[in-house]
């Protein structure tokens, strides 16, 4: 069974530029999550999708971050414009149905904003 795929693995941009991350969850998983992991901290949920609908985006900085999950499969997370404090690893995870099921994580994208 293929795992959660993410791309790119690394990205370096200058502040005020835009960036997009892509995630392909495990086939058949209805729930998809984006987490932000700042160096030295645990992951923090940014947004949770159930199929193609948003379940929880309470911690997503909506003035600069956006995410979509078209057709209930792949998802993209965008930052526009980026700030220095957005430097972090962005993790995508998926689960069969909701957060009480085991979440499977992708390898993450390390973003550096200079």
């Amino acid at each position: 069974e293929a795992g959660v795929a993410q791309s790119p693995r690394y990205k370096i941009i200058e502040k005020r530029q835009s960036v997009a991350f892509w995630c392909n969850p495990i086939s058949g998983h209805a729930t998809l999550y984006w987490y932000q992991q700042i160096l030295g901290q645990g992951p923090k949920l940014l947004i949770q999708f159930q199929n193609n609908g948003v379940v929880d985006d309470s911690q997503l900085p909506k003035d600069r971050f956006s995410a979509e999950r078209l057709k209930g499969v792949d998802s993209t997370l965008k930052i526009q414009p980026a700030k220095l404090e957005d430097s972090a690893v962005y993790l995508c995870a998926s689960s069969y149905a909701g957060p009480l099921y085991e979440q499977y994580f992708g390898p993450g994208t390390r973003l550096t904003v200079t």
């Binding site: 795992g3 999550y33 030295g40 901290q41 645990g42 992951p43 923090k44 949920l45 949770q48 929880d56 911690q59 690893v89 993790l91 995870a93 909701g98 957060p99 009480l100 085991e102 979440q103 994580f105 992708g106 390898p107 993450g108 390390r110």
Partner: protein, 115 residues
């Protein structure tokens, strides 16, 4: 608010020895799940072990076991016969069964297994 505290930022252990990682949490809920995740340098987060709060028996997965003390809100991870491949960040995490809150992670403990 739900919080998870890992008081040991770094730990080290000799290969084949046993090590215990600490975790405490705070919640007013009675029904919840607790997890330990491992994040090796490759960054891929992997579930190590899971404990349902309504179960009194401590969970065990091969060399990994937990000591769950519900009254004390404590959830420690014991790794027996430590191996070099156990070197990683370990995160304690928590979610309520109500599903109204997301999975909440602690800040992690960096474990180094020394040959």
């Amino acid at each position: 608010a739900q919080t998870v505290t890992q008081s040991q930022p770094e730990m080290s252990v000799q290969e084949a020895e046993t090590v215990t990682l600490s975790c405490t949490y705070d919640t007013s809920e009675n029904n919840y799940y607790l997890f330990w995740y491992k994040q090796p340098p490759s960054r891929q987060m992997i579930l190590v072990i899971r404990q349902e709060a309504y179960k009194q028996q401590n969970a065990t997965e091969n060399r990994f076991s937990v000591n769950f003390q519900k009254a004390a809100k404590s959830f420690s991870l014991k790794i027996s016969d430590s191996q070099l491949g156990d070197t990683a960040m370990y995160f304690c995490a928590f979610i309520t069964l109500s599903g109204n809150t997301p999975l909440v992670f602690g800040k992690g403990t960096r474990l180094s297994v020394i040959a």
